[in-house]
Assembly symmetry: C2
DNA sequence: CATTTCCGAAACTGATCAGTACCGCATATA
DNA sequence: TATATGCGGTACTGATCAGTTTCGGAAATG
């Protein structure tokens, strides 16, 4: 990921070799500063200081501030969800809830903070926008759509639910809460999205909710934590 | 709205009076530039040029760039929804759809563009964040919660739907689509949120959708465009 | 019509920051 | 151990921009 915009780097025959361990450290520092101050507030000196590196070292590896940031953002992608280890609990709710881990929440929060610092620039820098979407939006949407499609195949939810749209609901609510409302996205909030929006929108009801006033609540396969409406 | 941060302005006994028509023109120019370039990209010279005013004229009215922007954002609030003329069609879907007017879509799109230019700063400037939320998030959420509560009172939707949460869904999806995906929020998209997320989450189904595979679709008061599940 | 004050324009000041150049030291090769 | 090179640090350059000052002209008052 980093290599793509790295400044040439022809290996010398003699003398000291480029210290490759500096790259990830500088990229991490970039993400930290980005999350704290945003793109415009971030200076190369801040990044260098954070990484305990010299400014020149940064410019020896990346041609410009813009390319450094694009690389750093692209870097976040790999540190994301492992698609080979997705939960498969047998229920949509189970799968969604299984994704709520402290690490995942924390990681998402940091990514959204980075995103906040880039939003303004993204409208004018398609390359950056693509990198940010691929790193932050893409993976989460993909996971949700996998879970939803599974639930359809399983017959748990109707086949006509708008998977594409519903896959975005979680991320949209988290984004909105962080960027617009300035409130934290914690476990409780994610649960409320699952039980208050996504599952109901699929015709299911969340775990700990009272049955609807009039509806005849037909008990379903009775797996832990959901009932089907209709 | 503008007056609160305006620089003193003691009326003289003699000579030319302050041209009050310049204020709204400068504020409008500010919003335009803000939407196009974001807070950091915006310069006072740009605003002055756009308003065909001198830079000094701007500083004669606002003490700093920050205060100008806060005023401009606060200004957007008043140009919003008229709460005395909210639609009341008798159905939740009818009310929600009645809010989709070309002007409303356009207005929302512009506000989101302005918001995009402020997001990064909002995390570090609570005053600005408050102004932005009051102008952009607040009114829309309020409208949705009014519609939802009405629908509950009417018995159209269950009383246990999470009104607070669902009121944010529309705005969250629009924000996400604009800021993160860089796609336009058009009538079709708003309709898909209504029919694909909000109504289903309330146990209703949108107008032009096939009935669910297994559920017994009980026909309800049979107003145009909805059926109740359960 | 004289006076006062605002206007737009443009020049100026000081701070900040991207990007460059250079230094002396550390380190890996031969 | 001699040599070539990357390292962190610092000083520099040039551009940009917030905010100030100044100026000639235009308007409103009396």
């Amino acid at each position: 990921m980093a290599a793509m915009t790295l400044v040439d780097a022809t290996t010398p025959k003699l003398g000291r070799k480029r210290d490759l361990t500096r790259d990830p450290e500088i990229l991490d520092a970039t993400l930290e500063v980005l999350a704290e101050t945003g793109y415009d507030g971030m200076t190369i000196d801040m990044v260098a200081a954070r990484a305990k590196a010299g400014k020149a070292t940064v410019y020896r590896r990346w041609a410009s501030k813009g390319e450094l940031v694009i690389d750093a953002v692209a870097c976040m992608k790999s540190a994301d969800i492992d698609f080979n280890k997705l939960p498969d609990t047998g229920t949509l709710r189970g799968d969604l809830v299984a994704m709520i881990k402290p690490h995942s929440i924390e990681d998402g929060a940091k990514k959204l903070k980075v995103m906040a610092g880039l939003v303004s620039l993204m409208t004018r820098q398609p390359e950056l926008a693509d990198a940010a979407r691929a790193a932050i939006v893409g993976p989460r949407v993909k996971v949700n759509s996998i879970f939803l499609r599974r639930a359809i195949e399983r017959g748990e939810i109707p086949a006509d639910v708008d998977v594409e749209l519903l896959s975005h609901v979680g991320g949209a609510m988290a984004t909105h809460r962080t960027l617009m409302l300035g409130l934290p996205v914690d476990r409780e909030f994610v649960l409320s999205i699952i039980d208050g929006v996504i599952l109901p929108a699929c015709g299911l009801r969340g775990a700990a909710t009272a049955p609807p006033t009039k509806a005849t609540t037909t008990e379903r396969p009775s797996g832990p934590g959901y009932t089907r409406r209709g």
